[in-house]
C-alpha cells in the first residue's frame, strides 16, 4: 500500500496540474475509493490548485495594461530612455525594491549637505559651507556612476558604468559595459529635444520634448542633480567627520552618515569625500539595504566641476550608418 500511495501521490499531483494521462485516471480513482489518506491528499492539492489558479488570475488581470506599456515603450522608445536617465522616477514609483536613484541622490546630498552640519569646525580646514557654494556655482559637472542592486539588468558592477554630464540646460548619460559605450541619452531643455542612441543596435531616435516633459525634467533635475536642492534635502541627516585620506592622489576630507530616517531603507551608509585643496566633491559612496534585504551600492566619482557644457559640446554625434527608429 505504501509504495502504491507514493505512486498515487505523484498521479494526484499530475491530475491537478493537468498532466495525468487519461489511461491512469481509472487506476487513480480506484485507489482513492479505498485510501482515506490519499483522498485527503487529493483534497488538499485540489484546494491548493484553486488558490493557485486564483492567485495567478489576479496577476493576469493587469496583462493588458502591461502590454500597453510595452507597446508604448517600443513605439516611442521612450520608457527605456527614461529608464536610462530617469530610472529614478520610474523605478521608485513601481517597486519597493528600487531605491538606487534615491540612494544616489542622497549620496550627493550627504556630501554636500553635510556642509551645514559640520560648520567651520572641521579638522582639516575644509570649510563645508564653501563646498556647497562651490557646487551650486558650478555651471556644469561630469561624473561617473556605478552601482549594484539597480533595477536595470545591464548595470553590473564593475563592468558597467554611466558617465553623466549635467548642466541646467543639457544632460547626457552615456552607458558603458566592458569599456564599450552602448547607450546614450541626451536632453536639451532649451531646444526641447531628446536624442536616444542605441549603439549596440546601431539605432537612434530624435524627438521633441513636450512642455510637460521639460517641466518634469527641470523639477527632477532640481531634485536629483542640483547641488543646492540636494544640500537642503540632506540637512536633516545626522553625520560625523571622517579622517583624511588620499583618493586618486587627492587629499580629501570625508563625512559619513548612517541616518536612514525618511529614506526607504532598513540601513543606510553614505560617505562623501571632498578635496581639501579645491573644496569640490571627489567621491561619494553609499550602501543601503532595503526592506527586501537587497543590498544596493552606488559610487559617484571622477567628478569634473565647473565644466562649461554647451549643447555643441555635449550633443551626441550620430554615426552615418545608424538607422532611425
Amino acid at each position: 500500500m505504501k509504495s502504491d500511495c507514493k505512486k498515487i501521490k505523484d498521479q494526484i499531483a499530475d491530475l491537478v496540474t493537468g498532466i495525468l494521462p487519461e489511461t491512469q485516471v481509472h487506476e487513480l480513482e480506484q485507489h482513492l475509493n479505498k485510501c482515506a489518506t490519499c483522498r485527503g491528499y487529493a483534497r488538499a492539492l485540489k484546494d491548493e490548485d484553486m488558490l493557485l489558479t486564483e492567485f495567478f488570475a489576479k496577476i493576469d488581470t493587469n496583462m493588458t495594461s502591461r502590454q500597453e506599456r510595452v507597446l508604448q515603450t517600443v513605439n516611442r522608445s521612450c520608457l527605456s530612455k527614461k529608464t536610462d536617465t530617469l530610472l529614478i522616477r520610474r523605478t521608485i514609483m513601481k517597486s519597493p525594491i528600487t531605491k538606487l536613484a534615491v540612494a544616489a541622490a542622497v549620496i550627493a546630498v550627504v556630501v554636500l549637505g553635510l556642509v551645514e552640519f559640520i560648520g567651520t569646525g572641521s579638522k582639516s580646514g575644509v570649510v563645508w559651507a564653501e563646498v556647497a557654494r562651490n557646487v551650486e556655482a558650478s555651471p556644469g559637472a561630469i561624473w561617473r556612476l556605478r552601482g549594484t542592486g539597480s533595477r536595470d539588468p545591464n548595470d553590473d558592477w564593475p563592468n558597467a558604468y554611466k558617465i553623466i554630464w549635467s548642466s541646467p540646460t543639457v544632460t547626457r548619460t552615456d552607458r558603458y559595459r566592458d569599456g564599450q559605450i552602448y547607450r546614450t541619452l541626451y536632453f536639451n531643455l532649451e531646444a526641447r529635444t531628446e536624442t536616444f542612441v542605441a549603439h549596440d543596435a546601431s539605432n537612434y531616435l530624435k524627438e521633441a520634448l513636450s512642455e510637460e516633459m521639460v517641466r518634469r525634467m527641470r523639477s527632477d533635475k532640481d531634485r536629483w542633480t542640483d547641488p543646492q536642492s540636494l544640500i537642503n534635502c540632506c540637512l536633516a541627516l545626522k553625520h560625523q567627520a571622517l579622517d583624511r585620506k588620499t583618493i586618486d592622489g587627492v587629499l580629501c576630507e570625508g563625512i559619513e552618515t548612517t541616518d536612514s530616517s525618511g529614506l526607504p531603507f532598513k540601513s543606510f551608509t553614505g560617505r562623501g569625500w571632498v578635496s581639501v585643496e579645491t573644496g569640490y566633491p571627489v567621491l561619494v559612496e553609499i550602501e543601503a539595504i532595503d526592506d527586501g534585504d537587497i543590498r544596493h551600492t552606488s559610487t559617484l566619482d571622477q567628478f569634473q566641476w565647473n565644466v562649461d557644457l554647451s549643447a555643441e559640446d555635449v550633443e551626441p554625434e550620430i554615426p552615418t550608418d545608424y538607422e532611425p527608429l
Partner: protein, 177 residues
Amino acid sequence: MNESLDESVVRACRQGDKTAYAVLVKRHYRHVFAMCLGVLGNVHDAEDIAQEAMLKGFLKIKKLDKGEQFEIWILRIARNLCFDLLRRRKRIKAITIKQPMQPGQRTVEDHNLQESIRRLPQELRVPLTMCYFDGKNAKTIAEKLNISHSGACQRIREARKQLHELLRERKNNEKRL
C-alpha cells in the same frame, strides 16, 4: 499556423514596420512575463524584465534569422536578462528571503502562497508558474524551456508536491505561534 504568422510579422518588423511589432507583443508578451515571473519570483521584477526583453527584441530583431523562431528567441533574451539580474543580486538559487506583503495581495493566503512559491527551486518554479499562468500544457512548456516532455512533467509534478509541503509547513508554523 502561428509560426508562419510570426515569420511574416518579423519580416515586416525587419523592414522597419514598428506597428507590426505590436502583433508580436500581443502574441508573446504573456509567455515572456510568465517565464520572468517564474525565474524571478515577483511581479515587479517580472514586469520590468519582460518589458526590457520585448524592447531588446524590437531593437535587435534584424539579428533574428528565422522569424518563426521568434518566441524561443525572445524567451531566451528574457531568461538571460533574468539571470543577469539575479547574478547582480549575488543570488544563485531561487529567491528565498522573506518579502513583505505586496500591494495587491489582498489576503494573508495570497502572501503565504507567494512566499511558498518563491521558496521553490528555480528549476521547479519556472515550469510551475508557466503551468498555472500560461496554460496547463506540459508539451508547450517543454518546448519553451527546451526540455523533454517527460522532463517538463517531472518538474511540474515535483514542484506541485514540494509546494504542498511548503504550504503545509507554513500552516503548521502559524498554528504554533
